[in-house]
Amino acid sequence: MQVYLPIAEMSVNALVILALGGMVGFLSGLFGVGGGFLMTPLLIFVGVPPAVAVGTQSNQLVGASVTGVIGHWRRGNVDFRMGMVLLVGGLMGSLVGVWLFRVLRRAGHIDLVISLLYVILLGVVGGLMLAESVSALLRQRRKTAVRRKLHQHIWLHGLPLKMRFHKSRLYISAVVPLAIGVLGGMAVAILGVGGGFFMVPAMIYLLGMPTAMVPGTSLFQITFTTAAVTVLQAMTNHTVDAMLALLLLIGGVVGAQFGTRFGVSLRGEQMRALLALLVVGVCIKLFVDLAIQPDDVYSLVMSPPS
């Protein structure tokens, strides 16, 4: 079933897009991540212009994260106060990100920056996760459970602007979550990802939030930053394809439900190890693409920025 995407100006098979949405939705339901880091490269692979892929992805993430945040909110796992601080940072970051996107596009390096940032972010996050989950699996085998403190105070928490976060049982400087939010917002604008894959570890290891609170709170922030970025992209770059976003969303919603159910039958450490392998795999693929000689070293840009 062919569908013409009005903004991307191309014809795609609707079933392929639904399947892509479903597949990524399944993984995001399974692992509790947004899946943007998989979806954007996949869309570009199918032939969607990178700028449209990034802009549309932020629109799709609005829907996906609304579903997620409602689920976590029902279970009482959203720290709204922390979420608001992250959100303020996120909005600042997305403004900077959209501006940076335009500057880089004008300089002709946006594709390289996107790929390099993906390689670095996925490499660092995937590597850390892999190391952590492997050591957790090994530790479990030796059956020596180490009981940790509620959270460790590090020098970052002592910065000015101290705030109390009751739900997360934290009393730390607001500067840290603000900075994490800024990076998250920039990731939405430049990379077309929710930023969950590095905000979640940052919130666990840098903020010391209780793990149960983290996904709901980061999704709360992601809902609003992706909404803001969608509107900004629609206004400045006209790169939001609502038709494409809706198709991805339908596939994603169904896929996520299956993913969540399948995820129940997996153990936490196994799941984290699998996710880490997936992240590292995408990272290696992107790096290889940058390092090997392209089929044609020449490429075209249709309407060069004036």
Binding site: M10, G63, V66, L232, V253, L300, V301, S303
Partner: protein
């Protein structure tokens, strides 16, 4: 009406036109041609389309048909290996690149006329006026790369298509437009070539435009960008909420 019936009607109209003007000086109506369709509507189900061109000539000669899409500047970028990574290091912008070009002829075009003649009428991809804004001594490499990339996208022809004669005077050819064809005003040019010279030419406009739902979406997205963004967000949020309600008991 089927495409075939439309093509036959068009052919009849062309012959009539030729006959009606038979008494006047021969040169001006040495060539008559028309398309079966002057408007290609890109709707939600668009997957590319064919347009049939029919025409007739007086006497002997060869017929060449070129189709040119709307012209835009195109930047060609070249990657070089830098610190182990392939980076865009140099570029060249060509001013007037047709977004689409196709050509069909009764004979290989090199046999029809000298390159200067072909150059003048932009007949064949080697004779397009692809001029860079800031030329350097690497123009040829960049021009070849431009053509090669366009061919890979299916927007420039890899070969010259066929114009076939139906009887002595009537000719026809089919122009295939791929799904990724750019929208805008096209010029369909028909040339009658005899003894190495262009004896007659006719251009017919062709409009390719988005129609229906997809056109409305594009217009709305550009004219009311803020509202479009807000609605896109609202629709996505609504879909997300519906999903959480639908799967509540899971």
């Amino acid at each position: 009406m089927t495409g075939r019936a439309r093509a036959l009607l068009a052919a009849a109209a062309v012959l009539l036109a030729l006959g009606a003007t038979a008494g006047q000086p021969a040169r001006s109506q040495a060539l008559v041609a028309d398309l079966t369709n002057h408007l290609i509507a890109i709707t939600t189900g668009f997957t590319g389309t064919d347009v049939v061109l029919f025409g007739a000539i007086e006497g002997a000669g060869d017929v060449v048909v070129t189709v040119r899409g709307p012209e835009t500047p195109v930047e060609v970028r070249r990657k070089e290996r830098t610190a182990g990574i392939w980076l865009n290091r140099s570029d060249m912008t060509f001013a007037n690149v047709p977004g689409f070009y196709s050509i069909a002829s009764t004979r290989p075009i090199a046999q029809l006329a000298r390159p200067e003649v072909l150059e003048r009428y932009h007949i064949g991809i080697d004779h397009l006026d692809l001029a860079p804004i800031d030329p350097t001594d690497e123009v040829e490499q960049f021009r070849e790369a431009l053509i090669r990339n366009k061919q890979r996208e299916g927007l420039f022809p890899s070969a010259v298509g066929n114009v076939t004669f139906v009887g002595n005077r009537l000719f026809r050819t089919t122009v295939a437009f791929p799904a990724n064809v750019p929208t805008g005003s096209y010029q369909v040019a028909v040339f009658l070539i005899r003894n190495g010279q262009v004896q007659g030419a006719q251009t017919t406009p062709l409009l390719i435009s988005q129609l229906g739902l997809s056109a409305d979406i594009v217009e709305f997205a550009y004219r009311h960008a803020l509202l479009y963004g807000v609605i896109a967000v609202a629709v996505a949020a609504m879909a997300g909420w519906l999903a959480s309600v639908a799967f509540r008991r899971v």
